[in-house]
Amino acid sequence: MNKKAYLEISFSWMFAIIVGAIILFLAIYFLTSFIKTGQKEQELKASKEIGILLNPLEIGFEQGKQTKLTTSVNTRINPSCDLSGNFGRQRISVKEETYGKWSESDDRVVFQNKYVFSEENVEGKQFYLFSKSFESPFKVASIIYLFPTKESYCFIDAPSNIEDEIKNLNFENIFLEDSLNPGDCSGDETQVCFNSYEECNINVDYSEGQGKITKGEQNLYFYDDSLMYAAIFSNQETYECQLRRLLMRTKILTQIYNSKLTLSSLSDCQNYLSTDLTLFENKINAYLIDDERTSSSLEDIFKDAKIINRNNRYSNCRLW
């Protein structure tokens, strides 16, 4: 009668519980990874779609174009750049906020023919995109600027051509002001001051379409209006990398135009651009092979580009 209390579970029950637990664990594990993969897929699709939607921003002769991108949830777009291959690559990754948490995926979609200038992470539900043609000396690409609508800018004392362009583009978050006539700026915006001695968030030294942009400690050099906007709306890393990519494409286009001169159909043309183009290509090459060189050392190249463009304009057979 010395019976000890014990739980009487038969072997079959024990077996069923263990196997059931394993099956349940596997089911939950696979379901979680399935959901994660689905989310990743959704974000990759969004990245690719954003890239594709940039196609209509490719412009011909018309000036800047503006468009608004709206997402259903709070979205973080991270356009980045690398220099691999012949043209470098534009990478776009998208993260979506679900239940107050940002997804962890870091997968990027890659494009070779896009040049997006923006801060490292742009966040929001609505974004402005606009594009301008980059020409040096011929059209190289349409470059795209991306910024969220919730971030406002105040352009103070902008030159008349920039002021007109901003007015025509009709942004809701870029305001204009000059020191004599206070405009719509409230003071909470990112201040972009042109040729000012005051210290603003962004200072632009602008002279005849070229100059320097100072953002805190960073100095970015620009040589036309398209690069000026690029420097305003992007960080230093993106700006320098995308500028290098643009010059990679310029180099290949220079080779194409130089080869075009050798075609028999152009043999009767009085065009003396060949030497200019070869020298121009060499200068770009010297810049591209030196990783240390930044936008500050490009003055010579852009000066040459202007001369080549003028020579092309006055030749009896234009190359572009």
């Binding site: 072997f11 079959s12 077996f15 069923a16 196997v19 099956i23 596997l26 089911a27 696979f30 399935f34 897929e41 699709k45 690719k48 779609e49 594709i52 939607l53 196609n55 209509p56 490719e58 412009i59 011909g60 002769f61 012949n86 043209f87 494009f111 070779q112 023919n113 011929f138 059209k139 190289v140 690409a141 494409r249 290949i252 286009l253 080779q255 194409i256 135009y257 080869s259 075009k260 075609l263 028999s264 159909s265 152009l266 043999s267 009767d268 043309c269 009896n316 057979c317 234009r318 190359l319 572009w320």
Partner: protein, 174 residues
């Protein structure tokens, strides 16, 4: 005693069969779900490729590798510089995957039934120029463009333009 052991062995056998059946069932469900997911992924990829080609076809002619710019007097839109494209064809290996399409073709609009590929020597007496050709099965989108090039006759240089279809093909996941 022997009877009890047989009964237990029988039960273990039943259990093992049951587990195998359950595992097979779940494996089949998983396979079905994966194949469903894969087919929808392929469909999505096709849709995105199609969208890319559709949006690109109207704008690619404005791309600096193709566009006439101001080379043929004044600003021209939807105009392809044939001289430039001939050079581009020789350098096309640099541009593989650049636009995200598989084939780019320029086909002259004429009544000819012949299929003569254009070269610098036979232009304009030819029918088509395949700029990028990746030999894949796919669908295409096209738009009408003017194709121009410089011609010379007795030292006189003039512009020769004609109407053509600019065709982009994208790869389809079968």
């Amino acid at each position: 005693m022997i009877n009890k052991t047989n009964k237990a062995q029988m039960k273990i056998q039943q259990m093992a069969f049951m587990i195998i059946a359950v595992v097979i069932f779940f494996a089949l469900v998983a396979l079905f779900m994966i194949s469903f997911k894969l087919s929808s992924l392929k469909k999505d990829a096709d849709l995105l490729n199609e969208k890319n080609a559709l949006l690109l076809v109207t704008k690619l002619a404005e791309s600096p590798e193709f566009s006439c710019g101001e080379a043929f007097g004044g600003k021209r839109i939807s105009c392809i510089d044939f001289d430039k494209v001939l050079i581009l064809k020789n350098k096309i290996s640099l541009y593989s995957n650049f636009w995200g399409v598989s084939n780019i073709e320029i086909r002259k609009v004429n009544n000819n039934t012949s299929e003569i590929e254009c070269t610098a020597q036979n232009y304009p007496d030819c029918d088509y120029l395949r700029v990028l050709s990746q030999n894949v099965v796919g669908s295409d989108y096209s738009t009408f463009v003017s194709v121009c090039r410089k011609e010379s006759n007795n030292g006189q240089v003039y512009d020769q333009c004609s109407l053509a279809r600019f065709i982009l093909s994208y790869e389809k996941n079968e």
